[in-house]
């Protein structure tokens, strides 16, 4: 069975965690394209300027980042035009074990799920089952 290829966007201020996510995504064999960003503001610009209509896209975004954090990123994302947001699914990734953070993730309509760091072969497999 041939599975649909997906676009991926990784947002994490840690270069290392971007690298890990990129590798794990590559290993999944589902990636059409992977873009990584260490600044959430850059990622937001990228999303804004995506040519329409774009294919199914998955965003993995870290929560704790300087300048613009994951929550702020999602809040800005939710103000973008509907056609831009269409076909984009956001997953929030964090090392946080803070209950408030995890609860807060559930409050965002555009966020599919909270995932623990690091992204692993098995955690991404679970995500990709839905696509």
């Amino acid at each position: 069975m041939s599975q649909e290829k997906l676009n991926f966007i990784v947002v994490d201020d840690s270069k290392l965690d971007c690298f890990i996510a990129e590798k794990i995504i590559q290993n999944s064999g589902r990636a059409e394209k992977i873009n990584t960003f260490q600044q959430a503001t850059d990622a937001l610009e990228h999303v804004k300027n995506l040519p329409l209509p774009h294919g199914k896209t998955i965003i993995f975004v870290d929560i704790q980042m300087p300048v613009m954090n994951g929550f702020e990123f999602v809040e800005s994302f939710e103000t973008l035009p509907a056609e831009t947001r269409e076909a984009i699914s956001i997953y929030m990734l964090s090392s946080s074990i803070n209950e408030n953070d995890i609860a807060r993730v559930r409050g965002y309509a555009s966020v599919k799920q909270f995932l623990n760091k690091p992204l692993t072969n098995s955690s991404i497999a679970m995500v990709l089952e839905q696509f």
Binding site: S14, V67, S95, P118, L119
Partner: protein, 364 residues
């Protein structure tokens, strides 16, 4: 005699003008005395003089009783200590008032000067103790808030690198490519250095917080020599010119550990936040000691600090950039250490041009 400003400030309320006059006459040398003819006037006095610490009120007044008045003002003015003066045998209401906490003490009318004095003195002691308790409570609250912040950051800054390394290990297990594995080892090293750096900062933080300052003579030539040994490697590896000038003609006394924490953080930032494309990278350290003041200037021609973040850089865990690895601890520690030394710090910065920190510390 005590200075005017050091005198205990007392408010006396009585509907009998004669009582007010004799009260003022008896105590004006010992205390700063405010008087009020009725409770409305008393409230005005309290609003005008928020540092009134003891209130004495007559119990039997035409508009309301002293107890009622105390009950009323307790919310708006919780701090002044309340003393009731009563000539009537309405002991019931007095007991009641004391039990309900509206009145600290009562004095029988006609009063003896000695009674009033000793009551005011004791009430003032009580006032000071309560005020100090409030200050301590404030400090505790601050400490709790900081602890919360810390616990939150610890999960990120301490768990972060560990989880990264676990992620890399997972990847490395599934790769046969040796050169790729080597690259991963470098990354793990990097993550562990980040963690180590965080823990060292944490250690600094607690040594500033809890540690006593140990004042000794400081020879800045030696201090700067130690620092250049540390930063020489960084300077060579990253191709950054490190210029040092020390001008110290007089003895300077301060805490060596705090000074090193300040200098280390400022220098490591200056080396870290360099511009990638810049071919003439520079870190300039200047120390000038004169007239009992040390002025330390650390400047760089690096990435600079965005204007809208400059007010926040000294906040705990604040990071203005994701360009480089930072813990959000460094400048907070600098500010904290300067607080201990009675010093101050100024910063001026322009994005893509560089940053200058000027630290001024008085000799102890």
């Amino acid at each position: 005699m005590l200075e005017q400003k050091d005198k205990i400030k007392v408010l006396y309320i009585d509907d009998e003008p004669n009582n007010l006059i004799s009260f003022k006459a008896s105590f004006r040398f010992d205390y700063t005395v405010y008087v009020a003819n009725n409770t409305d006037e008393a409230v005005v006095q309290l609003r005008q003089h928020p540092d009134i610490s003891v209130i004495l009120s007559d119990q039997k007044m035409p508009d309301k009783t002293g107890v009622e008045f105390f009950e009323e003002i307790r919310k708006e003015f919780p701090n002044p200590v309340r003393i009731l003066i009563t000539g009537y045998a309405d002991i019931e209401s007095v007991i009641n008032a004391i039990n309900r906490g509206h009145v600290y003490r009562y004095i029988k009318k006609p009063w003896l000067e000695e009674d009033i004095k000793s009551s005011i003195e004791q009430a003032y002691k009580f006032y000071i103790t309560t005020a100090m308790l409030a200050v301590k409570n404030d400090e505790l609250q601050k400490a709790y808030n900081e602890l919360d912040k810390f616990a939150y950051s610890a999960t990120h800054d301490m768990r972060g690198p560990i989880l990264s390394v676990l992620g890399i290990i997972d990847l490395a297990k599934n790769t046969d490519d040796i050169s790729e594995t080597r690259g991963m080892l470098d990354m793990m090293e990097n993550a562990m250095q980040k963690l180590d750096n965080y823990i060292q900062n944490l250690h600094d933080y607690y040594s500033i917080r809890r540690g006593e300052v140990a004042i000794a003579e400081i020879n800045f030539e030696d201090t700067v020599k130690d620092l250049s040994d540390i930063y020489e490697v960084s300077s060579k590896m990253n191709n950054v010119r490190f210029v040092k000038t020390v001008d110290q003609q007089e003895t300077f006394r301060s805490d060596d550990v705090s000074l090193k924490i300040i200098l280390n953080n400022l220098l490591s930032n200056a080396f870290k936040y360099q511009r990638k494309g810049n071919t003439d990278r520079l870190v300039d350290l200047k120390v000038e000691v004169s007239k009992g003041m040390a002025v330390i200037t650390v400047s760089d021609n690096g990435i600079g600090i965005p204007e809208n973040s400059i007010n926040q850089i000294f906040n705990m865990f604040y990071r203005a950039t994701s360009e480089e690895v930072g813990s959000g601890f460094g400048l907070y520690n600098v500010k904290d250490a300067l607080g201990k030394l009675g010093g101050k710090i100024d910063v001026s910065s322009k994005q893509n041009e560089g940053t200058t920190f000027v630290v001024t510390i008085p000799s102890k």
